[in-house]
């Protein structure tokens, strides 16, 4: 669940307000920063972190938990802006991150075969 909107970083651009698929954020009163208005509607999709140009948002990975550690701890975790960097979100051609996409399907298929062999081994042993 969305857990932190860091006033230390937020510029009030309202990209999160505009792009959240469930409109969790609302603009602040004149001159103020946006607010997390309806956290119950958050679906823990992290897409607001992609939208934020200054890495001022942090989503708690627990869909039911809207609490956040202190700022220093968040910064030390390396997780502010992490999903954006992993995506290559604003880099040309996503910084080549998608070049491995073709490998994903076969790896997942291989996983199914591994699980299938293991299941038959397990049931035969029992």
């Amino acid at each position: 669940m969305i857990a932190a909107l860091l006033a230390e970083r937020c510029t009030g651009c309202n990209a999160c307000v505009e792009q959240c698929p469930t409109r969790v954020f609302e603009p602040g009163e004149a001159g103020c920063l946006p607010v997390i208005a309806t956290p119950d509607a958050c679906q823990t999709c992290y897409l607001c972190e992609l939208a934020c140009p200054v890495d001022a948002l942090w989503v708690n990975p627990d869909a039911q938990d809207g609490s956040a550690p202190p700022l220093a701890e968040l910064i030390a975790s390396g997780q502010l802006g992490r999903v954006k960097r992993d995506h290559g979100w604003n880099a040309p051609l996503d910084a080549g991150r998608l070049d491995a996409y073709r490998l994903l399907g076969p790896l997942l298929g291989e996983g199914v075969e591994i699980a299938d062999r293991h299941y038959h081994h397990l049931t035969a042993a029992r």
């Binding site: 698929p21 409109r23 996503d94 994903l104 399907g105 996983g111 591994i114």
Partner: protein
């Protein structure tokens, strides 16, 4: 309704903001229509595509005959080869057209890898294409009800703007419903806005639903949040005390989920991915960073440490049912109204099985293009004059005010639809009990006035849509007295040759079912 609602006109109105909506809007605009898109969320982040990594059924012309033959063999007699050919053709031709706005990766042979796309970038690309095409996209503008002209044809919709709280009315010559499927607020990532709104609006206009019994589907995720990606295929499963559970693999289909559901009903289940392919961790980080974040932020190495898992209901999203498609234009049988994507039935290409993943994405693209182009062809401009607002349940202030808390009702609906004990072992008695509970929910909605605030109005109406959708799913499952595809019945475990046809379902206060004849055998040339 406020005194002077925002009033707009267009040739084509598209309701929804995911990939089917975007492709419908693009096709309509390319055909010369003026287009407005209204979305409950925001096009770009809305829906289950944006949070996923949709593979597409993407087959070169020389491979199609074999691909269709394989798919026909899997779909248990309810799909159509001619529709498959059409969907494959449109997907092959149009998916590559996003290239100027989407960073396709390498295919490892000097070309592009096209069929799999990452959700956020894909939806960002489609939004940019809509902007270039001059399409007006109104985010956070949920549609609440359709409008009909004097002859019964659909002439637009009404809804509200979440930012201002104001009502809007849009008149259009044709309307495309691309509102997605319904996961009954299971917590499935990307599905919060997927509450069956388009299905209810279509039914109120007189359309039927089809394939609603094919609505039992789940995805495995860590217990604390849905990730909806599939890095868990190699998982072994354990109890907290270290005892290993014998769970058949994904190859077993429904039995895999039955085994997991049975184990989870007994107590917590942990997944162990230590046997996953060695190349997976690095690729997962590159391709599905959001899944990695769900673990990393809890300090869990998902490939070395065991973690609790549960099943998140997919409802009609990875299921197959939706608004019945009655002609080659993705028409609904109601003049001026078309359906596309997960809001429409996907039986034409997925039959009785899940269209999950590749086939559903290809369907969303192709049906979007078909519906959008047909809506543009039909346009006679936005009609003026008197209209009838068709919305009923959950919309009008007819009941007791002040008591409308949708959350307990939503939980009751989700339990009937996705509770492991009910959904994984459906039988006549359990379906009868669910029908009774859901009818009670429907009556409860009718007994209260919607809350007055904009979000409260939207939620109350969404609750009505979920209740309607759940009732159709339950009635269709009861009527299909056999096991076919993902419509599994524990009291009738074999297919019945006499039931090798689609089932239509509909109705509001009173739900009905009836057999369908195959739709649209004579297709127009692909667009």
């Amino acid at each position: 309704m406020s005194a002077s609602p925002l009033a707009l006109r267009a040739d084509v109105l598209v309701v929804g903001g995911g990939m089917a909506a975007a492709w419908a809007a693009l096709a309509a605009a390319e055909a010369g229509a003026s287009v407005i898109v209204v979305d409950k969320g925001a096009m770009g982040t809305s829906g289950v595509t944006a949070t996923g990594g949709p593979g597409h059924w993407f087959v070169p012309p020389e491979g199609r005959e074999a691909a269709i033959t394989r798919q026909i063999a899997r779909t248990e007699e309810l799909a159509q080869a001619d529709w498959m050919a059409r969907v494959l053709d449109l997907t092959w031709r149009y998916l590559p057209t996003i290239a100027p706005w989407y960073p396709f990766g390498s295919d490892g042979r000097g070309g592009r890898y096209v069929q799999g796309v990452r959700g956020p970038e894909y939806m960002r690309a489609l939004r940019r294409m809509c902007a270039v095409a001059g399409i007006a996209v109104l985010d956070h503008h949920p549609a609440l009800e359709l409008l009909a002209g004097p002859d019964g044809a659909i002439v637009g919709a009404r809804g509200l703007a979440l930012a201002s709280g104001e009502d809007w009315e849009i008149r259009a010559g044709a309307t495309v419903l691309a509102t997605g499927g319904c996961a009954f607020r299971s917590g499935l990532i990307g599905s919060h806005t997927q509450t069956g709104d388009g299905l209810l609006m279509a039914a109120e206009a007189g359309a039927a639903l089809s394939g609603m019994e094919f609505s039992i589907s789940y995805s495995l995720s860590p217990a604390w949040a849905s990730t909806r990606t599939l890095p868990f295929t190699a998982a072994r499963f354990f109890r907290e005390d270290g005892t290993e559970l014998a769970i058949s693999s994904l190859k077993a289909g429904h039995a895999h989920y039955q085994a997991l559901g049975a184990a989870m009903l007994q107590g917590p289940v942990l997944a162990d991915l230590s046997a996953a392919p060695a190349g997976l961790p690095a690729v997962l980080r590159q391709i599905q960073p959001l899944t990695v974040a769900a673990f990393e932020r809890r300090g869990i190495d998902l490939f070395r440490q065991r973690f609790p898992v549960r099943l998140f209901g997919e409802g009609t999203i990875r299921g197959t049912g939706g608004i019945a498609v009655v002609d080659a234009d993705c028409g609904t049988g109601v003049a001026g109204l078309y359906a596309a994507g997960d809001a429409a039935t996907r039986e034409l290409v997925a039959g009785a099985i899940s269209g999950g993943g590749a086939v559903n994405s290809a369907w969303a693209l192709a049906s979007g293009r078909i519906a959008g182009a047909a809506a543009a062809r039909q346009r006679g401009g936005a009609p003026a004059g008197p209209v009838k607002a068709l919305g009923g349940q959950g919309l009008r202030a007819s009941g007791r005010p002040g008591l409308a808390d949708p959350r307990p009702l939503q939980r009751a609906i989700e339990t009937e639809m996705h509770g492991y004990d009910r959904a994984l072992w459906r039988h006549a008695a359990s379906l009868g009990q669910s029908a009774s509970v859901l009818h009670g929910v429907w009556d409860e909605i009718a007994a209260h006035a919607p809350p007055p605030d904009p979000r409260g109005r939207m939620e109350w109406r969404a609750t009505a849509a979920m209740a309607a959708t759940a009732r159709w799913c339950t009635a269709a499952a009861a009527a299909r007295r056999e096991t076919r595809g993902i419509a599994v019945r524990s009291d009738r475990q074999a297919p019945d040759p006499a039931l090798a046809h689609r089932l239509l379902v509909g109705g509001l206060d009173k739900v009905w079912t009836k057999p369908a004849t195959p739709a649209a055998r004579r297709l127009e040339p692909a667009l």
